[in-house]
């Protein structure tokens, strides 16, 4: 089985978010870039499956400019066998899915995180599956592989389901798929330098959405404090003032 893990390059989740002058673009000054946390868990699960046997190779792919290469190298250091970077600015979800569709053929299992922690789009995985005309399963919190057959655990409202599905399949994975993301070891970092990172030119593709402007949330009103010994007052405030109880 050949696995492809889609990697989004995102600002560290503790980044203070700023936009440039007229709020038209994200201000990337001084930003630390990381593997999108969900993609990192997807890669971790792919590694676990490979260690159990039955996985031939793990490829990681990203659509981005040269600045995303350290993130792909990190994925290689974690344990992916090779990486593909489609050389383009990731303009919107459809544009990215179109680029990935060019490099995502020939894999049995494609794994995408449920969303990227920057634009929270949740779009690329499903769009790619439709472009490739393959099956997809979303809300996946577990994947097992036995004798070439995938067993997939999916979250549904108020429960879980165990599924079987034929390959090729794209899974959109979320919480539970792996517990702790793998951290690259020194040996992995050394080896990653020699692993193949293929740069592929972008294909012609349209964008279907435009980010017009960004805003930061309005500052929140100060927290209203209630004394420890008078906690009952809190319930009165929630009931009579906030009217939420």
């Amino acid at each position: 089985m050949k696995i492809l893990v889609l990697i989004s390059n995102v600002p560290d989740t503790t980044t203070k978010i700023r936009f440039t002058g007229d709020n038209k673009a994200f201000d990337a000054t001084g930003v630390q870039w990381i593997i999108n946390p969900w993609d990192e868990l997807a890669l971790t699960r792919a590694m676990e499956l490979k260690e159990k046997g039955g996985v031939e190779s793990i490829t990681v792919a990203n659509v981005g400019t040269k600045i995303t290469e350290p993130t792909l190298r990190k994925a290689l250091a974690v344990g992916a066998d090779d990486a593909i970077r489609v050389d383009a600015e990731p303009l919107d979800a459809y544009f990215v899915a179109k680029q990935l569709a060019e490099v995502a053929k020939g894999y049995d299992l494609i794994m995408a995180g449920i969303e990227a922690s920057d634009y929270n789009g949740s779009g690329v995985g499903g769009m790619l599956a439709e472009l490739l005309e393959i099956n997809s399963v979303s809300a996946v919190s577990g994947i097992d592989l036995t004798d070439g057959q995938l067993k997939i655990l999916r979250e549904i409202d108020g429960g879980t389901q165990t599924l079987e599905i034929s390959t090729p399949v794209l899974t959109v994975v979320q919480k539970g798929i792996a517990i702790d993301p793998r951290i690259p070891a020194m040996r992995g970092i050394m080896m990653a330098r020699k692993k193949p990172l293929k740069v592929v030119p972008a294909v012609e593709a349209e964008t279907r959405t435009d980010f017009l402007s960004f805003e930061l949330p309005a500052p929140k009103a100060a927290c209203k404090m209630v004394e420890e010994d008078n906690a009952k007052e809190l319930i009165r405030l929630l009931h009579e003032e906030a009217k939420v109880l």
């Binding site: 949740s122 499903g126 927290c223």
Partner: protein, 324 residues
């Protein structure tokens, strides 16, 4: 021309989310001067389908086909595409939940439509079609234009008020005519958690963190939650320690929730935790550390010992309920 809203049912019944979605879709349809069609897949009685009319649906397409029970993403996207084509839908609306996230992106490709997910309010304008959503897990907003003729959006739960408006509704059986080979997902086993408030649905959530010191101390939170018909949740360290089931973990990498009231008890409020709860209408914090970041996000707070505070809250809720 129409607006199409995808509705979900739970064992044949709609719930608050369905009505919220229809109300939201009806407002968009009105703005665009078009009609609103709701799509229902599953076994829902006519009376229940008619209830969608109260919230502004003009027509309900009723798909009754057991094969969709496997929630095959591709087949569902195909079915919605056929309904959208039949209705001449220009805007197709899903919930931003498991099912919506599974179908909407596929459908957008099928319909040559641009898609924006997690839209949290009515469009800024319908011509051009501009919607607003949160980015960076609540740390920013963006206004995004969808440039295509057909638009697909997923709607963030609890971001629109239910509006009853009455009106006639037509119910039509609809058969998307899919062949068996379009269904490739086989469900081997289903495990439902019963008798508990579903977290992403709950209007009130009582959540505990490391401040509770151990799983044996959760009784007071469960009692408070029980009295309020609230869901119970926890912070990541608590789930990682195995004090609570991992399904209860809320935060950036856990469940993302938006209840009316979120009680953060003994939770310091790390930025990753806030990412999962900052869409709550009201956040209440109880923490002994006055410097805890949760107080910056909270609307109401108590600095103090939760083991003294929570029993008082329980008494106060009992009194409130006794007084009607």
């Amino acid at each position: 021309m129409s607006v199409l809203v995808y509705t979900e049912n739970w064992d044949g019944k709609f719930k608050k989310l369905s009505y919220e979605m229809v109300s939201f879709a009806a407002a968009i349809a009105k703005e665009m001067g078009s009609s609103l069609t709701a799509l229902s897949i599953g076994h829902v009685a006519d009376e229940e389908l008619k209830s969608l009319g109260k919230y502004g649906a003009n027509k309900v397409l009723n798909v009754q086909d057991d094969r969709f029970e496997s929630l095959d993403n591709k087949a569902l996207a195909d079915a919605v595409a056929k309904a959208a084509e039949a209705e001449g839908a220009k805007v197709i609306i899903f919930a931003h939940n498991n099912e919506g996230k599974a179908i909407a992106p596929r459908l957008s490709v099928r319909m040559n439509a641009g898609m924006v997910s997690g839209v949290n309010g009515l469009p800024v304008s319908v011509e051009p079609f501009v919607v607003r959503k949160k980015l960076f897990t609540g740390k920013a907003f963006a206004n995004i234009q969808i440039k295509t003729d057909v638009k697909v959006i997923t709607f963030a739960q609890n971001s629109y008020e239910i509006v009853e408006q009455g009106g006639d509704v037509v119910i039509e059986a609809f058969d998307p005519q899919l062949s068996d080979d379009e269904f490739n997902t086989t469900v081997k086993e289903t495990n439902k958690i019963t008798g508990k408030v579903i977290l992403t649905d709950a209007e009130i959530v009582v959540s505990g963190g490391r401040g509770l010191k151990g799983p044996e101390n959760w009784g007071i939170l469960e009692e408070l939650a029980g009295l309020l018909d609230a869901g119970t949740a926890c912070s990541r360290p608590v789930a990682d320690e195995g004090w609570r089931p991992k399904e209860e973990h809320v935060g950036q990498t856990g469940k993302i929730i938006a209840p009316n009231v979120y009680f953060a008890i003994g939770i310091s409020g790390a930025i990753q935790h806030l990412g999962g709860v900052n869409s709550s209408k009201i956040i209440v914090a109880v923490n002994k550390d006055p410097e805890a970041p949760i107080f910056e996000a909270a609307d109401y707070g108590i600095i103090g010992d939760l083991f003294k505070v929570v029993p008082q809250l329980i008494d106060a809720v009992k009194e409130m309920k006794a007084n009607g």
